[in-house]
């Protein structure tokens, strides 16, 4: 009876966490993030196109890689959106729904993994609680995140794998499907899964050896499933994506290293003929910076403007928990501690091999283990106070509770207030309003011109207005695939829409044309009275677009 009650309590707790987690992930997710990003509209329209015609925007039948805007997107996200678009139509909510649902269902799923790894329900519940309120997981669950879906696959795959090596044959196919499926879903997994699989073989050699036949079946199934992806990566379009994001293209590396070396004498010429050693040590820096406190606790999520302390991938109150968690694991007090460390250490490899600053989406793979370490540390923290600081336990608990409340309130403000105001432009805020205006008034004009350049401090952001037009107008995919599109030097044209830079010195004479551009291309001082039809502002108050039509 007592056992039953305990089990029941855990179940209730899990349901409650799932509901709270679901609320945090689904509530107004069509309004926050403030607008649909470039990737989201591209994913969304391609899913719509597949739903209506079975083909992507370029007319390719059920592709395993979507060319999209030239960045060759992974297929799984597109296909997961199709049911919600079918039932709810093409809109922000329907395309964000699958990610939010998978994120919500990840809560009980992660619990299962944590229990399987640690065989400790206390740690598992702690880690699941942290997952439900994790700023990292909530942030990515509120908009289309292929890495979040991929991680859910990895977790399913790991659960199946751990069951499989216990000798349960049933789990062979799920393990293969989910682990390989994650590789089709996000790029980081394509490197992580093979390396991590080798680590798993080393870590669980005894169990694998005892169930050789089952494991062989798993390897064969996985190899068969992965073949199309290998082909696509080596010979197909995925190669381009890999090349685009490699660390060697990193701007800081290029700036500091990749120039012709100054040779004092020829002795060192042979040593400087390659940048490989410097690249290696630069990679080490990138790797170590993924465990930098600024990234972990202060601004890793990049939800606030540069220079303002915002939210890291973990809460500040997790600092002592993380440290104590690592120490507890090092003392070998937690089952499968090697697996936990291996997951984190290998999980950071793909992210560190890519260009640019620390990327919270590329390193998203390590999320489950950071939660688990934090949870282990949380219980060590309580034990430490109980054993060594029992005299001061009340003031410590009181102060720590205040810290937690403060941190959660700050996170709320970042999500609710600062993120929409400070990062609207990253999500192309304002584009929807301009497109809706153009669609509502398109019959009045012979041509509608969109300037793709925008930016508050300079026209340095290049958008894809055509995709927003297709998305918000629910443009017939069949028509778009088959109609003639004119691609010229720096311009694209279809129907009555043209995407090109606006040169007002020339364009001011084009009557019957609607121009939509940022204040950089449509400067108010050059516009006559009555030419400005609408101004579109960002939530932060900056002017984003002007909608203009020349007057005689």
């Amino acid at each position: 009876m007592k056992n039953l009650l305990v089990r029941y309590q855990v179940f209730i707790f899990l349901v409650a966490l799932t509901l709270i987690g679901g609320l945090l992930r689904l509530y107004q997710n069509d309004k926050n993030p403030i607008s649909l990003s470039i990737d989201e509209v591209a994913f969304g329209y391609n899913a719509y196109s597949v739903l209506k015609t079975g083909r992507d925007e370029y007319g390719k039948f059920l592709p395993i890689t979507f060319k999209s805007v030239g960045d060759y997107k992974n297929p799984v996200v597109v296909y997961t959106m199709i049911p919600s678009i079918y039932f709810l139509g093409l809109n922000a909510f329907s395309i964000r729904l699958p990610t939010a649902l998978i994120a919500t269902l990840s809560i009980p799923l992660f619990y299962l993994l944590f229990v399987l790894i640690t065989r400790n329900k206390k740690y598992a519940i702690g880690a699941t609680l942290l997952l439900a309120i994790s700023p990292w997981h909530i942030y990515y669950s509120r908009y289309i995140s292929d890495h979040l879906i991929a991680l859910a696959f990895v977790v399913c795959g790991m659960i199946s794998f751990l069951k499989m090596i216990e000798g349960k044959k049933f789990w062979v196919i799920p393990a293969a499907i989910f682990l390989v499926g994650s590789m089709y879903t996000y790029h980081a997994e394509r490197l992580f899964i093979p390396i991590f699989s080798l680590a798993l073989i080393v870590l669980y050699f005894r169990q694998i050896n005892a169930n050789r036949k089952i494991f062989l079946l798993f390897v064969i199934s996985a190899c068969i499933l992965v073949l199309p992806l290998v082909y696509s990566t080596i010979f197909g379009p995925d190669k381009a994506r890999v090349q685009m994001t490699l660390i060697i293209k990193d701007i800081e590396f290029q700036r500091n290293v990749a120039f012709k070396t100054y040779s004092i004498n020829n002795t060192y010429q042979f040593l400087t003929s390659t940048n490989a050693p410097l690249l290696f040590f630069y990679w080490v820096r990138k790797y170590l910076y993924y465990i930098h406190p600024g990234f972990l606790f202060y601004s890793g999520l990049n939800m606030t403007t540069n220079g303002i302390l915002g939210l890291g991938i973990m809460y500040i109150f997790e600092i002592p928990w993380l440290i104590l968690g690592i120490i507890t694991l090092l003392k070998k007090k937690v089952l499968n501690y090697r697996l936990i460390f291996a997951w984190v250490l290998i999980g950071l490899i793909p992210a560190s091999l890519t260009l640019n600053e620390q990327h919270p989406s590329r390193s998203f793979l390590i999320l489950p283990m950071t939660l688990l370490i934090s949870s282990v540390g949380m219980f060590s923290f309580f034990n430490l106070i109980k054993k060594n600081l029992s005299k001061y336990s009340y003031p410590i608990y009181f102060l720590f509770t205040l810290l937690i409340i403060w941190n959660l309130l700050f996170a709320f403000l970042v999500f609710k207030v600062h993120f929409p105001k400070q990062k609207g432009e990253d999500f192309m805020e304002g584009t929807k309003e301009t497109v809706e205006y153009a669609l509502a008034n398109q019959d009045k004009y012979q041509e509608i011109v969109f300037d793709p350049r925008r930016g508050i401090y300079g026209p340095d952001i290049v958008s894809i207005p055509h995709m927003y037009i297709l998305f918000y107008s629910k443009y017939d995919p069949y028509k778009y695939q088959t109609e003639e599109k004119i691609h010229g030097n720096n311009f694209t044209s279809f129907d009555k829409y043209t995407i090109r830079e606006i040169d007002w010195r020339v364009d001011r004479n084009k009557k019957g044309t609607l121009f939509i551009g940022s204040p950089w291309s449509l400067q108010e001082k050059n516009l006559k009275e009555g030419e400005i039809l609408k101004r579109v502002y960002l939530s932060g108050g900056d002017l984003a677009f002007l909608i203009v039509s020349p007057k005689p």
Partner: protein, 373 residues
Amino acid sequence: MAKSISKVEFFQLVAILSIFVLARVFFISFLNVVSFGDKSILILELLNNPVILPGWVFPLFGIGNLFLIYIIGNKLEKNLGLFAAILYALSSWSIYLDMSGSIFVFLTFLLLLFFFGLQLLEKDKLTAKVVITIVSILLIYTNILMVIILPILLICKISGYKIDNKIIITIILSLLLPLFLSFNNFAGIKNILNNNVGIFQEVGLINGVNTLQGQTRESGYGLLARLVENRYFYLGDFFVLTVLKNISLGTYFSPQEKILGFSFSAPLFIGFLVPFLMGLSKFFKNPNKLGFFAIVFLLLLPSVLARRSPDLEKLLIISPFFFFMIAYGLTDVRKKMSVVIILFLVVIVVIQGVTTITDIATREPQRAHIFKE
């Protein structure tokens, strides 16, 4: 006084000194950064009677650091001092700062001398008292933050050594008069403080918290803006971040652009990361660990409070901690690691050494040229 050194120790010291000198001579041939500029000991400037240390003495203080690391380390554990001193001799972090005449080489020397004095307390109390007293006074007059750090070290006895109250009283008495005189020069004190404590002087910090508060108020959460986005909480938050940055592994084991002319050289080579972590975990078993870590945290203060933190020049004073920890790990490497991993780490260290030298020799002038333009 301590017992005279053995033949083995003598040869070890000569060998380390040779490595130390050769490494620095080798670097001089590449670097244009060697500036034997004179440096004054800070607070004495306030008395209108500055003590100027000529630039050429700093490499000599470097040699002093080398010997002190050797002696202190060997008293802690067999061969610990030897390994730590070799690391100091070969470290690009110390080489550069020795050769560019950093005042923090001198400060490191004084701090090591202070701990040497503490070790002496067990054997030769009189000499120890003299050393500790003189060094304490010099420390305070070299860096104003030592006014905070040293009393904590002495009074709280976190070093684990029992310090005679007489020493403390002597130090306090010898400080009173010059300190009183220096306070007459209030502008000078303020200037020195500003130079040493710049952590909250960044304009962006206050702008940041004002932006947050403004946006929150605008959205109708005025109370939360006052409670949660309080200026003091924000600055406290920033302080914690700065401390964490100073203890982040990336600061020490990855290439740093801030380390003067060593654009792509790590203060500590990545190959030493594993021995460092091994040393650290081994040290956790030491009964004096809390005091030891408290000292390290205290010595982070000059860098933590600097305007641009982490400041690797100011962090030089905790470099012996890293050398000791790495050496502590190295003494265990053979027992705990396979030959393959040891070989791998050695290869990594050698490659990084060669890379650092060639980078400094061939790319650093180019970078200086590009970034100057």
